[in-house]
């Protein structure tokens, strides 16, 4: 187990390193120059050249790459010229926001998805299953950002139930109670989190239903039934428990979906998280921010997979034997 874990962690670090290097090279080869200011203003080539030098955007790529790695090892992510501040500060502002949104979306995703999947599996091929099957199929098939736009239109613009953008009310929140601020935060969170959560829940429900049904067909469940265990017990102790195993994998896989799905959703709902930060940075060629965002995102994905693997290995020792690949089952 330990040797396996060490190998897995080492591979993960290597993957992150490769990804970061690849991004560094790609961003350098990409056309477009760093945007120091808005395009509608007159440019002063001299001032631009000085700033480029000060931000370390000049010089051969190998020199910049080495100095980037050196700084990275010392925990320095560099300066963002687009945001005019240290990248670490910008990340420190954005990460909690993304985690909040991703966390809320994950919660909705798994709570609703799990419940629906189990419910459908218990009512398989009956009316509730068929109806819910169509609903989840639809939600699973819509472009997430389109669903976000439609929810924004209906609940933000037409009905006015939820705020259309941002993550807090700047007028009252800092001055009144923290309870108000917490409620206000949830209120702002509702539309983006529900958009991401619903789409995720649709996939989760479909997965969970299939997993439950597959397990239901297996011998030991039949045996349990034959031994006279109550239906409730069969479902809870056997079917659900086994289906949960594969569910852990899903949990690991859900991280990239939330991080990347959030790119467009964050843009639409003006949610100041990692997705927006990274997209803006790519469009401005704000290299230090892009590198940091990719480093962070790939680390999260790798860690997510790793944790899922470890959990699975703990839950089901048989899998450890096949530990060569990153992929259980």
């Amino acid at each position: 187990m330990t040797a396996w874990l060490v190998r897995r962690v080492a591979a993960s670090i290597a993957i992150v390193f490769l990804v970061v290097t690849l991004t560094f090279i790609l961003m350098d080869v990409a056309p477009g120059k760093p945007m120091l200011g808005p395009t509608e203003r007159l440019v002063d080539p001299q001032a631009e050249a000085i700033l480029n030098r000060q931000f370390g955007l000049e010089g051969p790529i190998d020199v910049r790459y080495v100095s980037y790695l050196r700084e990275l090892v010392h925990g320095n992510l560099g300066l963002s010229f687009g945001l005019r501040r240290p990248v670490a500060d910008a990340l420190a502002d954005a990460i909690p926001n993304t985690l909040l949104l991703a966390g809320a979306a994950l919660l909705i995703d798994f709570l609703i998805g799990l419940a629906l999947g189990v419910y459908q599996a218990l009512r398989v091929h009956r009316i509730p299953d068929v109806v819910l099957g169509n609903v989840t199929l639809f939600l699973y098939s819509v472009p997430t950002f389109w669903l976000g736009l439609i929810l924004l239109l209906v609940f933000g613009e037409w009905l006015g139930w939820f705020p259309v953008a941002g993550m807090s009310d700047p007028i009252l929140c800092p001055t009144v109670s923290s309870f108000y601020c917490a409620m206000d935060r949830l209120w702002h969170l509702a539309l983006p989190a529900l958009t991401l959560g619903f789409v995720g829940a649709a996939g989760t429900a479909r997965f969970q239903r299939a997993a439950m049904l597959e397990v239901a067909g297996q011998d030991y469940i039949r045996t349990a039934r034959a031994k006279g265990a109550s239906e409730r017990r069969v479902v809870l102790r056997h079917q659900l428990r086994n289906a949960l195993l594969s569910f852990i994998t899903l949990f690991g896989l859900a991280f990239p979906f939330l991080l990347t799905g959030a790119v467009l959703i964050e843009t639409i709902f003006a949610w100041p998280g990692m997705g927006r930060l990274a997209t803006d940075a790519i469009l401005r060629r704000d290299f230090p921010v892009v590198n940091a965002a990719v480093l962070l995102a790939s680390t999260m994905v790798v860690v997510g997979n790793l944790v899922a693997d470890v959990l699975l290995a703990i839950a089901d020792p048989r899998l450890r034997v096949r530990s060569g690949g990153g992929e259980p089952a």
Binding site: L51, Y119, W187, R276
Partner: protein, 557 residues
């Protein structure tokens, strides 16, 4: 039995709580009288840095208007010539000491918000910083004709110029906001670009900085001891959104009190229909055009195979129905510019001579220059070369993208094939600088005077700077030179007119739009005065009458 119902019911409950919570828990404060009021401005984008010489973004300038004072500022007329239309701010008065020396007397009441007095050495320090190449301020070039700024005594700052010209006073006061030397002296100049001061500024203006939540909002509070009079509106909040549609929706939904530029007729109509809003049109500072690269794509030494020909450029200009395009994109809120001119400029004159919209003549000109559709594919060609080119457009500007697609269709009608390259700003900037494009859709946000922008964008002196099209006509350059050095407005007007009409005749670009800006503010706000070059410059004089205060105005903090 495990069932989905409890989850759904709980969700519904949580949602209901949220909706109730958001309305029921708003506690109205108790502020009453003339100095209450909270204004929320919804804006597109976010400040970069609130250190005036390093600032590039427009939002930052609007906020800096509230935090840092200039010595004097331009009047509502936006006249930049001479000094008679300028309003005193930090300087209570000034006088000329000979043709090249300007003496400012600071207002003795002026204080930094930490209590220190504002002195002439702050002014000298400010000039030194703005012109320091390590600070790399975008305003540095505008100050090139000021030789020095010194402190004669703590209340008196002396400007010396290199030469005499009509806009000396404008250059002395318009570009610089005076900085607190005692707070900035310790920061090395090459670190000003990311100085922490720029995220926690302290100034001498009518408002104090309170907080800046990245990606969300920024709050200022009125300085009740401000020496030019206590601002009537107590809190100003800038709320950041990524795009104009969301900003408008926020405004219409009463989640913001104002927006300075609604841009599209769509947004304007929505704001106009909202009962709580009033619409304020004002002269816009932007003009936009589709420019032709006169040099070959990627090779500035050769003329462009299509656009090198003046007659072809003129024909293409005549093939475009600028009035309909304008109507389609801007509705009633913009004008077709009479050349490279924004409405902000005093030289704006719809009578300037320009090429007409005349597709017959356009087609005839193209045919007579050998561009005929010999292979009947709908695209004109000459010597086997189709009349086809690429248009470079920034993918972030909805207006410019819309124009590009509308023009694409209009040119198709006369047998010209235009492909649209919609790319990031960073790619646009790179290809412009390298001359790697055929045609480009551009817009400039102009200063109040034509004498800085026009030479940089349209004369030979702008090669390597902003004259990406490499437009070069010595007659035009001479007229611009004459206009910028003319002693009186009347003389300048004649020269400018000649210059603009020369450009129009050479048609290096199709001049498409000069914006009218339309702002919308909550109707409870009184005395809304907007200075066209900087809408937020006079916010300190706006007020909310005590009988019109609403809940958010009364909030105590």
């Amino acid at each position: 039995m495990l069932s989905a119902m409890p989850h759904q019911r709980r969700l519904a409950l949580v949602l209901a709580m949220l909706v109730l919570g958001s309305t029921a828990c708003q506690r109205a404060g108790s502020c009453t009288g003339a100095y209450c009021g909270t204004l929320v401005f919804g804006v597109v984008g976010e400040p970069d840095i609130l250190l005036p010489p390093s600032t590039q973004e427009g939002v930052s300038r609007d906020i800096e208007e509230q935090l840092f004072l200039k010595l004097a500022d331009i009047g509502l007329s936006t006249n930049t010539i001479g000094d008679e239309d300028f309003q005193p701010l930090l300087a209570e008065r000034w006088e000329w000491d000979g043709p090249l020396t300007l003496v400012f007397h600071l207002d003795p009441r002026a204080r930094w918000q930490d209590g220190q007095p504002v002195t002439a050495s702050d002014v000298a320090f400010t000039f030194d910083a703005y012109t320091d190449s390590l600070v790399a301020s975008p305003y540095r070039a505008a100050l090139r004709r000021v030789a020095s700024v010194t402190a004669r005594d703590p209340q008196t700052a002396v400007f010396r110029f290199r030469e005499k010209y009509p806009e000396m006073f404008y250059d002395a006061v318009y570009h610089m906001r005076v900085l607190p030397a005692h707070l900035l002296r310790g920061t090395p100049r090459d670190q000003w670009k990311t100085a922490p001061f720029g995220r926690q500024p302290l100034g001498d203006g009518p408002y104090r900085f309170v907080s800046w939540k990245a990606g969300q909002s920024l709050e200022l509070v009125a300085d009740s001891t401000f020496f030019l009079g206590r601002p009537a509106i107590r809190r100003l909040i800038w709320r950041f959104t990524p795009d104009i549609m969301v900003a408008t929706t926020q405004l219409v939904a009463d989640q913001a009190d104002g927006h300075d530029q609604l841009v599209t007729p769509d947004n304007i109509a929505r704001a106009a229909a909202a009962p709580q809003l009033t619409i304020y049109p004002y002269r816009g500072a932007t003009y936009g055009y589709m420019g032709f690269n006169l040099a070959a794509n990627g090779d500035t030494t050769q003329p462009h195979p299509i656009f090198g020909d003046r007659d072809v450029r003129r024909a293409l200009t005549m093939a475009v129905d600028r009035a309909s395009l304008l109507k389609s994109v801007f509705g009633d809120y913009a004008k077709v510019p009479p050349g490279p001119v924004s409405q902000l400029w005093w030289i704006w004159d719809p009578e300037m001579r320009q090429l007409p919209y005349d597709t017959t003549r356009a087609k005839w000109t193209l045919s007579s220059h050998g561009w005929r559709d010999s292979d009947k594919d709908g695209i004109r060609d000459r010597d086997g070369q189709p009349l086809a080119f690429h248009l470079l457009v920034s993918s972030v500007s909805t207006i410019r993208k819309t124009y590009a697609r509308l023009i694409q269709e209009q040119l198709r009608q006369v047998g010209v094939q235009m492909e649209i390259d919609e790319v990031d700003n960073s790619v646009v900037a790179e290809r412009l600088a390298a001359g790697k494009f055929d045609a480009v859709m551009l817009a400039w946000q102009t200063d109040p005077t034509p004498s800085s922008g026009v030479p940089q964008v349209w004369t030979r002196g702008g090669f390597g700077r902003s004259n990406y099209l490499r437009y070069d006509n010595p007659a035009f350059d001479a007229l611009v030179e004459k206009a910028t050095s003319a002693a009186t407005r009347a003389q300048a007007r004649v020269a400018w007119r000649g210059a603009i009409e020369t450009v129009n005749a050479d048609a290096p670009a199709i001049f498409l739009f000069a914006t009218d800006n339309v702002a919308a503010f909550h109707k409870r706000v009184a005395d809304v005065r907007i200075r066209p070059d900087s809408w937020a410059a006079l916010v300190r004089t706006w007020r909310i009458p005590p009988d019109r205060l609403i809940d958010r105005d009364r909030v105590e903090r």
